[in-house]
């Protein structure tokens, strides 16, 4: 406990982190102000005549996910495996469409005409920014704490102390706690500013699958089909929670690099290469129409981050299984967690050079 506090204190005195945090908040503020025009037609007034909406407005009534299945299966036709995954995914979506039809989710008003824009602003632009900033903070904190003793040449004394090399586990815990706290801070301040300007008062309980909401992927517009009945509030809570997991994934990934390379700068370089290279590789696979490989690449953390605006939905070409983002985050946590454990075991029995 005492050492976790000591390590967290090192984070508090890390100036670059606070500079980055300030810049992030300024950027988020600009993103919010830059999209202010949508607010003019952001309309949360429920139509009183809403009770008598004709059946055509319940967009999920009789919705056939087979259309989506054929659309995507045709796109990935070069790979029968990938096409099989797509068909399977959309066949699992059919009962969801029926449930949404029955629940009358589409009849919810959400934000009326401004629904799509405001939804994309909050769950696309802002969440993407918050997650990127939170993840960068997490990686910075991890690299900083794990390289701290080496930078100050105190590694020898520390490793010969009673706590010894196991301090690096404490460091990991302290860095993860700090990273999550910073993420909460970033998300909290950004959302506070956003919600201060936009009045969500009446719409937290509305379904995100409102008929005013929709998704477009590859120029194909379809209703907002989620794997679970989400209200706007529930969807935000789910996104923020999964985001916390994603931030942890990026942190663990940085920890693996730091422990593997034992040099902060090399670790940062490799980390950047892996993250950007991964995105590049994914789009390369889709360009070359190697769809099975492309789908595997959609599981990587940076792909999950990029697709934040379609989290918990059928996600179109960005996913090949239901709940893909959730599965990917859990999978990544498990893989990175095991890799970190392996690195620790190696570190415990290795010469300190």
């Amino acid at each position: 406990m005492r050492l976790i506090a000591c390590e967290m204190k090192k984070v508090v005195y890390f100036p670059a982190l606070w500079t980055f945090l300030m810049l992030s908040l300024v950027l988020n503020g600009l993103l919010i102000l830059g999209n202010d025009d949508v607010r003019n037609y952001f309309d949360t007034e429920k139509d009183d005549s809403g009770a008598i909406i004709d059946a055509s407005e319940n967009v999920f009534e009789g919705y056939d996910t087979g259309v989506l299945a054929s659309f995507y299966a045709d796109i990935v036709r070069e790979s029968p495996t990938a096409a099989g995954w797509i068909r399977k995914k959309y066949s699992l979506l059919q009962p969801r469409a029926e449930q949404l039809a029955k629940s009358g989710a589409a009849l919810d008003h959400y934000a009326g005409k401004a629904t799509y824009e405001s939804h994309q602003l909050l769950f696309g632009t802002l969440m993407r920014a918050i997650l990127a900033e939170g993840s960068i903070c997490a990686m910075l904190v991890i690299l900083y704490l794990m390289g701290y003793e080496q930078l100050n040449r105190t590694e020898g004394q520390v490793c010969a102390s009673c706590k010894g090399r196991r301090l690096w586990m404490t460091k990991l815990a302290a860095a993860m706690l700090s990273a999550e706290a910073l993420y909460v801070l970033l998300a909290g301040m950004t959302l506070a500013f956003y919600l201060g300007r936009w009045d969500y008062g009446g719409i937290w309980g509305d379904s995100v699958s409102s008929r005013f909401n929709y998704l477009t992927d590859m120029l194909y517009k379809r209703p907002f089909l989620t794997w679970h009945n989400f209200t706007v509030g529930g969807y935000l809570a789910a996104s923020l929670s999964l985001g916390a997991g994603l931030v942890a994934v990026f942190g663990l990934l940085a920890a693996v690099c730091a422990m593997l390379l034992r040099n902060v700068y090399a670790a940062a370089l490799v980390l950047g290469t892996v993250l950007f290279g991964g995105i590049g590789l994914g789009s390369l696979f889709s360009q070359c129409r190697v769809w099975a490989a492309y789908f595997v690449m959609t599981l990587q953390p940076s792909a999950v981050w990029l697709d934040v605006n379609v989290w918990f939905t059928e996600s179109g070409i960005a996913a090949f299984i239901p709940w893909q983002e959730t599965v990917a985050v859990v999978l990544n946590l498990a893989v990175c967690g095991m890799a970190v454990c392996g690195m620790f075991r190696r570190f415990m029995r290795r010469d300190l050079s």
Partner: protein, 285 residues
């Protein structure tokens, strides 16, 4: 009781230490060897920072790596390049070290104050470490190494950068500490260990040369060290060990099996012994 059993350490192709065996009981051990002889390597292995390529190191019959925390808890270590957090004060830095050593919180501050007093840094206790002089930092390092009242104290060149007064103070401190513990210190400054080291460990050609008392080491050269005037003819079988200022100008201290002409036999010092032992090697190189 610390035993080093047939320890070899290789860095890739380079064999830094070969087949070292030592048994250390209470007392001060001085590790005296030229640069690059492997002193730090040996000390790092004793501090579990490096692992022997071959052989093993035992504390009371138990392998130190397997003992883990129990061993490190009774170890104090000052590395050759003592690192510190520049923006901390000695007191803050020692509090962190105390947390690492799992010293009870209630006891920490008392111990820190006592140690800072012992190394003469009470006045600088709350100044930033980056504003301290090299010798003061070295004393902080010594205090940190003694924080957990170690049974085994390993000091890699502890006197580097200390002024003569501090050096004497350090010697006295180590001398009084060593009654019931093992202190191993390395140095190039012969006078630092001449008076306090119970035994001197010497390394040559990556192997253990000796682990003897200073008197035994000097005794080997009794009757072989002579003082000559600077203009004396040096014979091939004579080795000039050092040059110095005598009463009548420059004098040479020479190692010779036979008494040279106008040579005055002198009592061999540990420095003479050190130079004599490593002389042949340097000339060969």
């Amino acid at each position: 009781m610390l035993s080093v059993e047939r320890v070899t350490k290789c860095y890739g192709n380079l064999t830094a230490l070969e087949d070292i065996s030592l048994d250390l009981a209470q007392g001060v051990y001085g590790l005296l060897a030229p640069n690059g002889a492997g002193k730090s390597t040996l000390m790092k292995m004793l501090a579990t920072l490096l692992f022997p390529t071959k052989g093993r190191i035992l504390w009371d019959g138990e392998e130190i790596v397997a003992m883990g925390e129990r061993y490190r808890g009774l170890l104090g270590y000052l590395p050759q390049d003592f690192g510190y957090y520049p923006n901390s004060t000695p007191r803050q830095f020692m509090r962190y070290a105390a947390a690492l050593q799992k010293i009870p919180r209630a006891e920490t501050d008392r111990r820190i104050s006592r140690l800072l007093e012992l190394v003469g840094l009470s006045d600088a206790a709350d100044r930033k470490l980056k504003r301290l002089s090299g010798g003061m930092l070295q004393r902080v390092g010594i205090a940190v190494a003694m924080l957990n009242d170690p049974r085994l104290l390993i000091l890699d060149e502890p006197t580097a950068g200390l002024d003569p007064g501090e050096r004497v103070r350090f010697r006295n401190m180590i001398h009084s500490l060593a009654e019931d513990r093992i202190v191993i210190l390395s140095t190039h400054i012969v006078s630092d260990i001449e008076t306090i080291a119970g035994r001197i460990i010497m390394l040559r050609d990556h192997r253990l040369l000796c682990c003897d008392t200073p008197a035994q080491i000097c005794g080997r050269f009794r009757g072989k060290i002579f003082q000559l005037p600077a203009d004396a003819q040096i014979m091939p079988h004579q080795h000039v060990l050092s040059e110095g200022q005598g009463e009548n100008g420059t004098v040479l201290r020479v190692l010779s099996e036979m008494p040279p002409e106008d040579g005055v036999a002198v009592a061999p010092s540990l420095e003479d012994a050190f130079l004599a032992i490593y002389a042949s090697k340097r000339e060969g190189a």
